[in-house]
Subunit: 153 residues, 2 copies
Amino acid sequence: MRWNDLDRENCSLSRTLAVIGDRWTLLVLRDAFLRVRRFEDFQASLGIARRVLTERLKLLVDEGVLKKVAYQERPLRYEYRLTEKGIGLYPALVALVHWGDEHYAGKKGPPLLHRHLSCGHDFRSVMTCSECGEALDPRDVKPHAGPGARKRA
Amino acid sequence: MRWNDLDRENCSLSRTLAVIGDRWTLLVLRDAFLRVRRFEDFQASLGIARRVLTERLKLLVDEGVLKKVAYQERPLRYEYRLTEKGIGLYPALVALVHWGDEHYAGKKGPPLLHRHLSCGHDFRSVMTCSECGEALDPRDVKPHAGPGARKRA
DNA sequence: TGTAGTAAGTCTTGAAAGTGAACTTAGTCA
DNA sequence: TGACTAAGTTCACTTTCAAGACTTACTACA
């Protein structure tokens, strides 16, 4: 199977991964959330091959995860910013980071903490149920076919 | 940069991606959460090349995300099950699925729904603050250097 | 005893994607 | 004029992936 075929699969995870399911893409997004915006800055920060960076940024822009915004004219130059759709990936990214903090941080602790400005504390994200507000235990969740289901979910 | 070098980077996301940041790996984990456990079943379900599946399963076992459990002797055969560490990836996976539901589900709606057994409703996951319990707005979060920080976060 | 079947890999070969360095373009600055 | 900058593009080379055939160790059937 080719990766471009993934978006035709009837699974929201496949379709998500067809857009952002590539290591570089997720690192680009991490940087974007840390306010990196320009081509040279992404390149220097990640050490990514320039051709690959060009390709990934283009895909993210085409998918509406990032948008190009001119930051100067003559010479015309653009920077890349997260759209609302892109910001919607924050929970997933934070969940991955916190999983890494938990299992791969060294003795000293995690390299980066997240502060919740409105309460003032460093936090970990907790996945809760949109309906009852309780914290979710994976064993307390049952997947079932939804309205868009075909044969395989 | 090689991908094996990623785990030496001082960033929890890099270290996480060195383990699970590969499209196939995440799809393997999706299947694992849907109770797929055997080599042949993963292979048939995903259409993944057998060599790549072998490799990915081995990495996940080496990293303690999956464990091999014998389900019969003579011939000795193993199945792959999520460990506690693997189950810890559930929030991230659900967040990715829900992002896909939101942006890529067709007119009919998402192919798969998640029911919270203890409250009985289909839900979406909401990221909340472990300290104050409020839902988190990405704009209300400020990352800052943690105890394990080196020069770059 | 021979034949087929099963589960979990392993091997092989051509195609695709990634890597690093040099090059290009359009403009500024001194 | 010459050096510099940002954002790519091009090129030669290496690594990884895809698809399918093959292997191993055992069971079940006739």
